[in-house]
Symmetry: C2
Subunit: 412 residues, 2 copies
């Protein structure tokens, strides 16, 4: 009998009525003859509420204590879901991440999974139980509770699917699947039936909110088929799988918008080897995630360096940067929080040319200025003015003919 | 440097403002030169809120899952309190019960502590940290999360005080100490400065709500001095300690009222040896707690048996009883939820006589009928009509001259 990992996000278990719906879905799967292993996030806005309490106590909470605090959210969900399944007459048992042997490193609030000891899950499955695991959390070798950071519950699900040899990992959410663009921005965005790990990886990194990169990476590494589905109905959803010939026919699979980043520019950095390395090493040591980096040589013997970071890490980043450049004679460090990153993604770019030119032309026609550009084999990103991001997405989505045709006279 | 265990109940950490107050108190203690080990309950009405969610899912929740659920409440408290202490510039580290090695049996929702491995606490104390432990919870040998039931956080505190060799265990609450009677019922109730473990044991078992019997038992067994204090100010509170000569001068230390019990009566039980044993063995096997038992022989060859149970266990008790007597030809089983138990407690009873007579006379004068009586060396309990309980407490409190004198013209 095959194991299926089903993951339900916070919106799928936002209240008791939805928890009961989820329980029914799980029981249906079990009655179809599969062994469900379920991963659940915290109820609705539990995490926000806990963070609000924290903000009344401290501005810089200790990360170990944050993990103690936030890991309770998922523990509540798994217990309630187990009870809801019992109520349907089916055996179920819930586990926290630490209980189920999800061992991580010691990087609190964004720990990495080092390994999973699935003995306890197998034991429960042998007793014919539905196994429910708290997403987003694990423990260090020495027993400290850790959380996995953004997309942590997806990561738990995909990692469990791999370790358990599950036939698939189903990620249930409040949208029907993965779209060519955010349907709240582009009215006629189309659901994608099948997409490659690499494309999703780019899209996730670029701001598409459905799946986080880390879980897709694990899926890709171990070739775990991942379905993204709506928990409210029985739609097929989007299958994330390995790249196939057919996928290459599509030049651009989707357009993504990222509005969570800010740009930091360091002016007049001495143009000597090793200086940039020094600055970014300090940022790495300070655990600041850097996205795009651009370096422009100026007329003098100095250079300007710009890079983007998550807005929520901006304060930390600025502190680290100012400290790092304090003895370098740097003129000034400025930041710009009003930026958007617009990206197109598609494995078809490998075999089609002129894609970048088409994107830039489209933006130019809309009088949208491009501030930074970054490309990979299967994506092109442009940083534009924060107020122009959505307009840019709509224009590009239309330019590449990605829509369903419905509502094309929309806001684009 | 001596260790002091400080326990703060749910009302002491009901909101962020109170958590900060508690943090200040702990830091003050630390600066006085003691090593505080702190036990915390769940914030205010967290537990009620979680139970409300459960009630929307199921009437009979699985007890293992209840423990998974409810143990999150204390985990939230300890993390927030640790952050509040950090904010005062003092090192602190929080632990769940399982993390800190509180090992229990497998009796979910009312587990017993089997042992505590305090290595991790000592390690944190050596690093000069305030140690904060989630009350009310532990884990089984096999890693299941358990909760300790009513008074569980007090129990955690006293057990830790014993294991750590603490000089005292301070139980902080929202009242000033232990009173001769519930001040909400008896206006001129007086705070008791010092009282024996045995008296508190009786009072706790009889409905006085300040300390639960189990924690006092541990305190008594290992002679841990327990202070009951108000977390809102610096009052001395009540010291619970071993019995002293001086205590015997007081005939009655306090009057307690218990309104949480119900009475079950089994009519016409065949009057043969072993029948009662059989019934109560089944109740014990069903984990129903029995308090008072009375058996009356009737005129025929049968007997009527009455006993009291907690109201919340009444349904379970009735089910077990009806099942147990189904083949005994018993006429009927009835229950009465409208009862109150009024009790007086005092080690002085050992050396003073006529105490029971005085109590019964007092009730008779107030026209309060006595339904069941139960006595021990240091207590006398009477079950009366549920509507008469408070009146009885006031009358008896006055009869034995326990008040401060203030407000004696009150409702009694």
């Amino acid at each position: 009998m095959s194991i299926i990992v089903q993951k339900f996000g916070g919106s799928s278990v936002a209240n008791v009525a939805r928890i009961k719906m989820v329980a029914k879905r799980i029981v249906r799967a079990k009655k179809r003859g599969v062994k469900p292993v379920v991963v659940v996030s915290a109820l609705g806005d539990t995490t926000d509420e806990l963070e609000k309490l924290v903000s009344q106590i401290t501005d810089e909470p200790d990360e170990r204590e944050m993990d103690m605090l936030l890991s309770t959210g998922e523990q509540v969900s798994v217990a309630l879901l187990a009870m809801a399944i019992h109520e349907l007459g089916v055996g179920a048992v819930s586990f926290t991440g630490p209980q189920v042997g999800i061992i991580t490193d010691r990087l609190h609030t964004k720990a990495r999974i080092l390994g999973i000891n699935a003995a306890r899950i197998h034991q429960a499955l042998r007793r014919d139980k539905v196994v429910i695991v708290a997403g987003f959390q694990g423990r260090t070798e020495s027993g400290e509770i850790t959380t996995l950071g953004r997309g942590g519950s997806d990561l738990t699900a995909v990692a469990l699917a791999q370790v358990l040899g599950a036939t698939a990992c189903e990620i249930y959410t409040d949208v029907d699947g993965i779209y060519t663009a955010d349907p709240r921005i582009v009215r006629d965005a189309r659901m994608i039936e099948q997409i490659s790990y690499d494309e999703i990886l780019e899209m996730a990194a670029l701001g598409a909110k459905v799946m986080h990169a880390r879980s897709v990476e694990v899926g890709k590494k171990f070739n775990v088929p991942i379905y993204v589905r709506n928990s409210a109905h029985n739609g097929k959803g989007t299958l994330i799988t390995k790249e196939s010939k057919k996928m290459e026919d599509v030049v651009v699979s989707g357009v993504a918008l990222m509005e969570d980043e800010a740009k930091i520019t360091i002016f007049s950095v001495p143009d000597k080897p090793g200086i940039a390395a020094k600055i970014f090493a300090k940022l790495a040591a300070g655990e600041v995630n850097i996205d795009m980096i651009i370096q422009n040589k100026t007329e003098t013997n100095t250079t300007d360096i710009s890079f983007t970071v998550y807005k929520k890490e901006l304060r930390k980043a600025l502190r680290v940067v100012k400290d790092a450049v304090s003895k370098l004679g740097v003129r000034r460090v400025v930041c710009d929080e009003n930026i958007s990153k617009v990206s197109i993604v598609g494995v078809g770019m490998r075999s089609h040319s002129g894609v970048a030119a088409k994107m830039f032309r489209c933006l130019a026609r809309k009088q949208i200025n491009i501030d930074m550009i970054s490309t990979s084999e299967i994506k092109i990103s442009c940083v534009v003015n924060g107020r122009k991001g959505k307009q840019a997405v709509r224009a590009i989505h239309k330019e590449f003919g990605l829509g369903t045709g419905k509502g094309q006279k929309g806001r684009a």
